[in-house]
Symmetry: C2
Subunit: 155 residues, 2 copies
């Protein structure tokens, strides 16, 4: 299985970028990981809604080839780490080649992304920065893969 | 208000340590922050339950002087960032000087800590490493303080 996780803009916080690289590397032992960085095309003075719509178009363009789209949204379905591992197993059984996870930019996800995703998943009811969300998602995918493989990782 | 967050052992992952320092510094603009590192006293070959009980004793010793104890536990009460800001306001109104947040070591929290805490709080249904939990908690306390103060931070 391949995890496609497009980032709207680079990860600016260096320690989060280091963490993301660390977990992307670990996750790479279980699955193909693709983290393309999308260049924001909107103007600096555009209204929030315009920026979000432009980001959504970029994200959906990336996600078009994926077999399954998961939008990360605090209002989505919550899951524990074992349930996330169960989801991975389910996707694998369904023969889904690429799962695309969609994280909004600093303004959050545009409605159109939530509408087009097959699943809205919540990592927490708490609001995280989009850069923290990247790290937490990668750590959880890695954890889910270790659970699925029966490896020892961390409680 | 003062936030007392004892850590069982140092934060070994350097990027998480950098993130924790970053948010502790930012949080320091709103409140006093104390992050004592507790030296683990147990032996290397002790059973998990013995280690957890020894860590619990260290944590409860630290927490003894606090006016309120919050145990971080995936099975605890979940909250969104606004509700967490509301909790801070409530503690302040109650005249609580020090709030102590209790995070377990890599084996998790011993039952005795959950029993002695006034509140069990869940950051997520997902399981995080204890070092990630430190970073996420500090980021959320900072976020809650900015919400409370009406400052702009991050959606």
């Amino acid at each position: 299985m391949k995890f496609l996780i497009p980032f709207v803009g680079k990860t600016k916080e260096s320690y989060l970028d280091a963490g993301i690289r660390d977990y992307a590397g670990r996750l790479g032992r279980f699955a193909e990981v693709d983290l393309p960085v999308l260049r924001e095309r909107h103007g600096r003075k555009d209204a929030d809604e315009v920026v979000k719509a432009a980001e959504a178009a970029l994200l959906l363009e990336q996600a078009a080839s994926a077999g399954f789209r998961v939008a990360l949204d605090p209002g989505g379905k919550s899951s524990d780490s074992e349930e996330l591992a169960g989801l991975l197993t389910q996707w694998e059984r369904q023969g889904i080649g690429t799962v695309c996870f969609l994280i909004g930019g600093h303004l959050g996800l545009h409605r159109s992304v939530l509408d087009r995703a097959e699943l809205a998943l919540s990592l927490s009811r708490l609001t995280f920065t989009h850069e923290m969300t990247r790290l937490i998602l990668l750590e959880q995918l890695y954890r889910a893969c270790t659970i699925k493989a029966g490896h020892k990782y961390h409680k």
